[in-house]
Symmetry: C2
Subunit: 201 residues, 2 copies
């Protein structure tokens, strides 16, 4: 979409939108021109929200979920079971599981899954931090709630091997999740059933 007819600042915004996942140059131009004509404040509201999100959020030093306070609200939550840990790939997965209301323990966010194809190894994930937590926190059960994909399964198996002999019960979400699907897009009832039917590894 490089074109001398476009003012530099407009082209710049199109370029920035086009860097987002799933936004091509045409969509980026559409979004930009929408904001050019939208109410005066909408573009600035979005700019402020971006800046604020970046300034206010951090990763919880315990569970590595996104938070505005460290440790996060779930890690410090009174009335949450400290003996059960749910290991997920992404912060959005925490959101999905919370929405199911079928889990009341703690979380650990790996920030990805092992994927040799994409060059993501165990050292790129928060796995060492997970192992370290098991030395200091009284977990009786760890739910390996990685996605039901090849990468998610490998990651769960890797963690299972690493935690072998620690005497912690390891479980996996029940089959019922569509294989090849994505945890964060699963409806809450299915996800609740999958939590209820979790099985020991």
């Amino acid at each position: 979409m490089a074109n001398s007819v476009l003012p530099r600042s407009v082209q710049q915004l199109i370029n920035e939108f086009a860097r987002l996942p799933g936004v091509g140059p045409k969509s980026a131009a559409r979004l930009t021109f929408f904001l050019l004509r939208a109410s005066d404040t909408q573009a600035l509201d979005l700019a402020d929200a971006l800046r604020e999100m970046k300034e206010l959020t951090q990763f919880c030093s315990t569970c590595h979920n996104i938070t505005e306070q460290d440790p996060c609200e779930i890690c410090t939550g009174v009335g949450r079971d400290q003996g059960v840990l749910c290991v997920v790939e992404e912060p959005l997965d925490v959101l999905a599981i919370e929405r199911s209301r079928a889990f009341n323990g703690r979380y650990h966010v790996l920030h990805g899954a092992i994927s040799p194809v994409e060059g993501i190894g165990p050292e790129d994930l928060k796995i060492e931090q997970l192992i370290s937590r098991t030395d200091h926190e009284p977990f009786r059960e760890i739910i390996l709630a990685t996605n039901p994909t090849l990468e998610g399964e490998s990651t769960a198996m890797y963690i299972q091997r690493r935690l072998d002999g620690k005497g912690i019960k390891l479980t996996r979400l029940a089959r019922g999740l569509p294989v090849g699907g994505d945890l964060e897009y699963t409806d809450e009832i299915t996800l609740g059933r999958a939590l209820d039917g979790r099985q020991e590894l």
Copy 2:
């Protein structure tokens, strides 16, 4: 996606993204979480681009296209034919026509088309400004390049009536098969127009 688990600033950004056209709550969450983990600068770059675009751009007081200087580069362009005016609905249409390199005149951007369904009348568009330009600028031809839709056709017809008797040649973009298109997939109305407008080899 309202959920107490999400930090307020994260939810705020999701809400702002979801206000954009074609971005649903799920895509808004994806974009937000992408930016949460992207390089430190990417979210701020986008925020700066938004702010800058809003601060630096305005509409050209002559042709109503988007510009950083008023009058815009096309209106002040030396070597552009001042006698031919191309009337389009949107700034993106100017971009599309410039990319074709088949036009070297001036533009007039209406900022929409007449649409009774959406409650958009002639007074909501830059039509009076167009009529006024014809009194002061020496146009010998005006190309009514509104979209080949019901709204675009109505708008062109309305402008045609308003310019009647001014002695300016009014034209419309040719209808026909899109280049690289496939005859068997062409809709019957386009095909009818293509037959009506067939040209001798």
